[in-house]
Amino acid sequence: MGINTQALMAQLLVGLINGSFYALLSLGLAVIFGMLNIINFAHGALYMMGAFVAYFLLSIFGLNYWFALVLAPIIVGAFGMILERTMLQRLAGLDHLYGLLLTFGLALIIQGVFQNFFGSSGLPYAIPTALQGGTNLGFMFLPTYRAWVVVFSLTVCLLTWFLIEKTRLGAYLRAATENPTLVRAFGVNVPRMITLTYGLGVGLAALAGVLSAPINQVRPLMGADLIIVVFAVVVIGGMGSIMGSIVTGFMLGVLEGLTKYFYPEASNTVVFVFMVLVLLLKPSGLTGRAA
């Protein structure tokens, strides 16, 4: 079987782009699960809100993509913190199922509201001028915006990993994941830290939404399509594992891309088949610790 390098590379690039979104979203989920013990089903809706905030900033206030990259995560992150303070905080100590049901309900409400006002079809969001065009690498054409998404996502993921694994603030987060009562007894305001962590996880989802807007258009259900795969990524990487989420996100994006080239019929299911295999062989995930 002859391999068409250009087509293979194009699918790999698509895989890397999807992997970028998987990584950013699953990273946010991992951060939230690690700290709040909540499986945040609203993550897809908050990702969609990030894209919509970028759209509003441009269409109402004339603030372009670069402003949206900074402002959308802050605005949606603040919305997330309000959700945490007013609702999620009340679920502390309860079974996972309560958090899952609440966030699932929130996702349905948020998506329903947006669908009510904007319908189901996509709203256009242009690629910023500085990132238009592309480069011919000889074996493939590399669109500048797509390259930017991969590099920027990877940078944000690694910065988040550094923040959590290598800084004092990250040490607080990791310690509070293990024993919040003791960390609080050391003088750390753990409830505030939990709220900020939820804001950080939600901000990452919103950032992915902004990055996605010029590629996938802005649609109320854009998060619902993605979130199931992202949960599979989190399960494969290991619930709560930061590096596991990043590596698995990119890896599964590439796996999907390769499957699209070699056996397109399986491209929608390959992630779930892989998840089943991982659950059978290593239930705690590729990088997760056994319970």
């Binding site: 040490a171 310690a175 293990e178 024993n179 609080r184 007894a185 050391f186 003088g187 305001n189 753990v190």
Partner: protein, 251 residues
């Protein structure tokens, strides 16, 4: 017998509540859910003292420390630290006032290495021990700085747990059974450390079941039973109270 003693102990406690008390606890009650655990605990700790809470398993010693620290959600009565009422304060606020707590299970974080464990508690007051001073007290920790916290031996973990709170600048330490499960040679080392901390002016509230150890470091003792203080005496009165103590502790 215990109820009679409680009646006797209470006035003595109130009398000993001198103006220089760093910690004064009056009628402290605490609950775990519906279970009423502490039934009006009264005691005080004065500046520079080592005070030990003695008692059998389930007497309420650990719950008393946790209640003072604000970890037990449902509590009432009065807990005054350096003149400030802290019965309704959250544990992070109590810690920032200068109260440091070393839990019975040591609380070493598995996801943090020794250095991170050591540096974790924020400084709540100036004057915390520097790393060099800590390594002087616990030389083992210096060699294990990059090891995972929970990979240390039990003794080293206990040293780390104590060292960690000395960095914060808090001058009032609450140590919950620091000798539990440790080899005699390590217990001796912990005893020396507590004596050294006392010499440096720290005030220490200790919970112990190991009476032999406690008798070497404490200035005063309170005996607890069924969530109450049932007796109290100074170290100097220890010999005279030995029979009673044996009866209380079942030793």
């Amino acid at each position: 017998m215990p109820s009679q003693m409680a009646a006797q102990a209470a006035p003595r406690t109130v009398q000993s509540a001198a103006a220089d008390a760093v910690l004064q606890v009056e009628n402290l009650q605490a609950w775990y859910g519906e279970s009423h655990i502490l039934h009006g605990v009264n005691f005080d700790v004065r500046g520079g003292e080592v005070v030990t809470l003695l008692g059998r398993n389930g007497a309420g010693k650990t719950t008393t420390l946790k209640s003072v620290m604000g970890i037990i959600g449902k509590r009432s009565g009065s807990v005054s630290f350096e003149g400030k009422q802290i019965i309704r304060a959250s544990s992070d606020r109590i810690a920032r006032l200068g109260v440091a707590f070393c839990p019975e299970e040591r609380g070493i974080f598995a996801s943090l290495d020794v250095r991170e464990n050591l540096m974790l508690p924020p400084q709540v007051r100036p004057g915390g021990l520097s790393l060099d001073q800590i390594f002087e007290l616990f030389p083992n920790l210096k060699e294990r700085l990059n090891s995972q916290g929970t990979k240390l031996s039990g003794g080293e973990q206990q040293m780390l747990a104590i060292a960690r709170i000395l960095r914060t600048g808090a001058r009032f330490l609450m140590l919950d059974e620091p000798t539990e499960g440790l080899a005699p040679v390590i217990i001796q080392q912990i005893g020396k450390t507590i004596a050294e901390l006392k010499k440096q002016g720290f005030t220490i509230l200790l919970v112990e079941q190991n009476f032999r150890f406690a008798s070497t470091v404490a200035d005063r003792f309170y005996v607890m039973e069924h969530g109450k203080i049932i007796d109290t005496f100074a170290n100097s009165d220890l010999a005279a109270n030995m029979d009673k103590l044996h009866a209380y502790l079942g030793v």
